[in-house]
Symmetry: C2
Subunit: 447 residues, 2 copies
Amino acid sequence: MVDMPTPITPRLPRGMRDILPQKMLQRQYVIGEIEKIFQRFGFEPLQTPVLELRETLMGKYGEDAEKLIYDAKHREGKEELALRYDLTVPLTRVVAMYPDLVKPFKRYQIAPVWRAERPQKGRYREFYQCDADIVGSASMLADAEIITMIYTVLRALGFQNFVTKINNRKILTGIGQYAGVSDELLGGLYRAIDKLEKIGVDGVREEMQRNAIPTPVVDKIIDLISLPSNAISELYERLGDIPIAREGLDELTQLATFLADAGVPHTHYQFDFAMVRGLAYYTGPIYETVVTEPKIGSLTGGGRYDNLVGLFSKHSLPTTGTSFGIERIIDVMDELAMYPASIGKTVTQVLVTVFNAELVGVSLRVTNLLRAAGINTELALAGEGLGKQLKYAAAKAIPFTVIIGPDENAAQQATLRDMTTGEQSVVAQTELANVLYAKLHKNTQTT
Amino acid sequence: MVDMPTPITPRLPRGMRDILPQKMLQRQYVIGEIEKIFQRFGFEPLQTPVLELRETLMGKYGEDAEKLIYDAKHREGKEELALRYDLTVPLTRVVAMYPDLVKPFKRYQIAPVWRAERPQKGRYREFYQCDADIVGSASMLADAEIITMIYTVLRALGFQNFVTKINNRKILTGIGQYAGVSDELLGGLYRAIDKLEKIGVDGVREEMQRNAIPTPVVDKIIDLISLPSNAISELYERLGDIPIAREGLDELTQLATFLADAGVPHTHYQFDFAMVRGLAYYTGPIYETVVTEPKIGSLTGGGRYDNLVGLFSKHSLPTTGTSFGIERIIDVMDELAMYPASIGKTVTQVLVTVFNAELVGVSLRVTNLLRAAGINTELALAGEGLGKQLKYAAAKAIPFTVIIGPDENAAQQATLRDMTTGEQSVVAQTELANVLYAKLHKNTQTT
């Protein structure tokens, strides 16, 4: 027997959470749908450890990550370890470590990462990332595949009004050259442009001026980044003499052709020449998906980062990919009640009650029959009266219950009760699985 | 552009591993099958954070865990955190934190835990645990459900020769009382008994003597624990006057009746009065499943632990459950090649090749059609000749390829190539999904 010491207060660390069963079922549905489509597109699963060497993780991020990263150690361990901060660095480490992986290497990973950010509503320090990347193809077909997959995933989850905004880092670099911005000022320029949607043209203008960018240059840039999505010919005219910009424009043109061939409707992607995306490592097309109605911010972000594998290897590999903001997607789906009716509050489809101690055996046998037929079945365990057992079923929102009293059992029958309507029917025990299957199937279709 | 600094050597921390796609597909299959049956039995998914407060984790284990646990912190964090060491303590914390959870609370969790054990072949410091527990039922029905589920899971995975050994801590306590072993010596007694299978009767005898247990007592105990599985009436005769032992025997008798009613064949469970199981917190029935042929040790372990929730709450809750040794199960299934033929080396079922730059569009459209029909389809991205694309398909073991040259396309046809047999057939593009679906289905059934 265990001693009973003073209880420890059950608490969670700051910024952490439990996901209880009802929410977990919704979460599993979302992850399952996404995973199905990742595989439909030929992406393969990969698992990397939560703990990585600190030096592996710190290559990419610098000071920002220093503040947020969780270090880990065990008492006798000599290695400096940390919890992974994203799934991109582990991917590039894997690609460098196993040079025999067949290329292009298409992998997905849906897994938690850790960042000690200030906790706030809907923001946690452990959260899932959901990434799909293609390593080893420089073709715009790879970028087209990623954007097509984003479209397919979001449609499968029930999103209607969304658009993937596309830009190209090469065009941004070209704009910098066109406007004569020195390399040292490029970072500030990008940060200013990135805020266009938030702070408007005037805000960006001020921001650029604060960043020491001369006024005539500011005017030229504002002019360019304000061009509408369909103004690519305008950009060719103005930037066509700058090789890097022309390259970027050619890539976007090709990408658009591929997307049309792949059947992505024009309503679901557009060029946005003011989109920058925060991370420094992008080198080509970048993309970000926003929901337009209701306005809920971005659901995916990604792009091409051809130099990142070079962190771990002399031979870099062209890479492109996207991350689905799966936590935000789940939050939005919660808020808009976007789950299909088949995702209930419990996995259990039927509770087999236990009438009394003499009839436990028959309840066990019926439970066994239902499970063998593929029906998720609970056996009542509380050992209490029928009333309490039905109350349990109601509390858990189990849709059906089975009752087998002495009379029913003598006739090899069972009473099947629909917990939503209260309807009851008497069914032969051997027919129970069939009858229940039909009812469950009908329920899913009509509700 | 990103600067290219000296590459960081891509390395893994000690005792950690990556799981590359091919192994991941097998792993996902095993986890998926287990999860399906957990849900079939009405167990609900739960997610808890990887990081817990140190005080939460340390309640149960003491010094052993101190040596093995990974601590975690972030630069400005004030909490003492650690990576979870198992899934049982997080479960009991959850149960204590959310008193409104409907009871019995049946949950499963399949997730990684961390222990800095000495790395060795097949043993890692991050490994998955796979637990199913029932909180809030003292009924032997709950224990019977767990054992029935173990049987169902192992059969579903293809295991044939296995047996769940069952004992009861109450009987062990009773044996201690019967033999007159003082409470201080009970721990040593149990540890000695636990080694019976490994070191034999003589070994156990020596071990007990080393533990200061008097020789006549040793004889009495050896006699009892050597009783065969079907000797429960013999135990009733000798221990029936000891209340705790009688209680334990009654529980096992009831459990056996329930297992028979639940349809678990007698060949798959047996009493083993010498089985102890290491952990101190068990209070009632304990069970452990071993594969008898080939001899590969235990695949599951578990039992009743009615006092553990009491770590976090004044009100304890009767709890029983089991852990599947999922890493060992996967190792054994690897070794014995137990995966169904449908689990291939890649998720991809077909590669659509790209004949030349002019025909990219048609390959994209055909890819789109196949994916819409639910077929896992890759589009060739390498931008190289057909030969290289087919080589890629072969290297990845993709079973089918589609080739659309100018002639085929003019006739709205495509060539479908079976990569295993080399057979080719020309099919209308609109019929491709149907033809391929039939071939894939046939392949799965016959190989």
